[in-house]
């Protein structure tokens, strides 16, 4: 059977716009509600992608992150990278991209499910990743053994 892979619009189709207006943006606004301004999620259009920028403080440090919802979102998962300088880590991919929904992972939590997850789930997953990073930084052990 043939494969068809071409970008299809989150920001330029009716379906994509409805997803943003009825699911993603309300979820982001709920996340932001009552949160200190410096830790709220901001969203801007970059071409046909929507880029979310935010700070997270899982334990001791504050990290600046960017989560990109590509034109093909939500059938393709969001891509999250850390903008703050990081120590080299085996769980950090090229461009300081977080290893979250990567092919080859056997963890149930690494499975992106567009029928259940919103972009805020990706933010929460990044928070958990950063908490693991800080523990790894201090102990040399990644605290989720199944992710090794």
């Amino acid at each position: 059977m043939s494969a068809i892979v071409v970008d299809m619009g989150l920001l330029d189709t009716e379906l994509g716009k409805r997803r943003l207006l009825t699911i993603e943006i309300p979820a982001i606004e709920k996340y932001n509600d009552g949160r200190d301004p410096e830790f709220r999620i901001s969203a801007t259009r970059v071409g046909l992608s929507l880029v979310l920028r935010y700070d997270l403080k899982p334990m001791h440090n504050i990290y600046r992150l960017e989560t990109r919802l590509l034109s093909s979102y939500p059938s393709v998962p969001p891509d999250t990278r850390i903008l703050s300088p990081m120590k080299h880590c085996p769980h950090l991919l090229e461009g300081q991209t977080l290893c979250l929904w990567r092919q080859g992972s056997v963890r149930a939590t690494s499975r992106w499910d567009p029928s259940k997850f919103t972009a805020v789930f990706a933010v929460q997953a990044a928070w958990r990743w950063l908490a693991c990073y800080e523990i790894w930084h201090e102990t040399g052990e990644w605290p989720l053994p199944e992710a090794k």
């Binding site: 059977m1 043939s2 494969a3 068809i4 892979v5 071409v6 970008d7 299809m8 619009g9 920001l11 330029d12 189709t13 009716e14 379906l15 716009k17 409805r18 997803r19 943003l20 207006l21 009825t22 699911i23 943006i25 982001i28 606004e29 932001n32 709220r40 999620i41 901001s42 969203a43 801007t44 259009r45 929507l50 920028r53 093909s72 939500p74 059938s75 393709v76 998962p77 891509d79 085996p90 769980h91 950090l92 991919l93 090229e94 290893c99 929904w101 990567r102 092919q103 080859g104 992972s105 149930a108 499975r111 992106w112 499910d113 567009p114 029928s115 259940k116 997850f117 919103t118 090794k148």
Partner: protein, 271 residues
């Protein structure tokens, strides 16, 4: 009198088409596939080497005409996901009685599902598992579970990119793509026949179509399938919390979407 809308006439899709075109109830057939017939297609496809270089939709249209010249065929060499194809494809879906999806890409399946649900049309999907160890035939109806409900129930993985190589913590940027073991023509034909039968049931309009997911095993695989030639029928419910098919709380008229989105993004635009 029935009008079919089929996306994908690869090695599986062409066999489904070949089965369905024989049914006298089918009078119109729309075929969508942008691919050219290549030398590597020959050993698992209907057409000989002399057809290499032609569009697959044109070959499929010729095949239909050779067997049922009275069928009206629309052969569209379009990408299902290309923005410039959407208007034409949407019109074709609106006119059809049912849809058939015979593509492998997960994103294409989600998009096909959204299109058919938007137009309240039933559709079917066939999937051959890697290595031809078995396959699925699914039937979707507008009021039933969507493809997202089914994929979530079956805990399917959505990859970051269809062509992305696998990540490996010992080699974070590998150069080789994940291997997918090709299925044999016999395996493809078995699943295509199942897919065609599940589709033909919809044409029997005396019985309202019901959602269905059938798994047929074709090989014994330790840890995966205990035995070959077993069928498993799954009753997958529509998820009331599905973000893809559950009813939205605030319907927005289509003409107001851009303005509403601009306002929403302005609220979130602070740095």
């Amino acid at each position: 009198m029935s009008q079919l809308f089929q996306v994908g006439v690869g090695s599986g899709g062409i066999l489904i088409l070949d089965s369905l075109l024989r049914d006298p109830r089918i009078t119109h057939y729309t075929i969508v596939d942008p691919d050219i017939y290549k030398p590597h297609n020959v050993h698992r496809h209907l057409f000989p080497t002399s057809c290499v270089g032609r569009l697959k939709v044109d070959l499929a249209a010729d095949w239909i005409h050779q067997h049922r010249p009275e069928i009206k065929v629309n052969a569209l060499p379009l990408d299902l996901l290309a923005p410039e194809s959407q208007s034409r494809i949407s019109n074709e879906v609106a006119a059809c009685d049912l849809g058939l999806c015979a593509v492998d890409a997960e994103r294409a399946k989600y998009h096909f599902d959204a299109l058919l649900r938007k137009h309240h049309k039933p559709w079917t999907l066939g999937e051959v598992l890697s290595g031809g160890i078995g396959g699925w035939a699914h039937r979707f109806v507008p009021t039933g579970p969507c493809y997202g409900c089914v994929a979530s129930f079956l805990q399917r993985e959505v990859k970051e990119a269809e062509t992305a190589p696998p990540s490996n913590y010992t080699n974070p940027v590998p150069q080789t793509a994940e291997e997918s073991i090709p299925a044999s023509k016999a395996s493809i034909a078995a699943i295509a026949a199942l897919h065609a039968n599940v589709t033909l049931e919809i044409l029997d309009k005396a019985i309202p179509p019901t959602p269905l997911s059938l798994l047929l095993t074709l090989k014994q695989v330790p840890g995966v399938f205990e035995a070959a030639y077993r069928t498993h029928r799954f009753a997958i419910p529509r998820s009331s919390t599905c973000l893809l098919c559950s009813e939205v709380t605030k319907p927005i008229p289509e003409e107001s979407l851009d303005e509403a989105l601009d306002h929403a993004l302005a609220r979130l635009g602070r740095e």
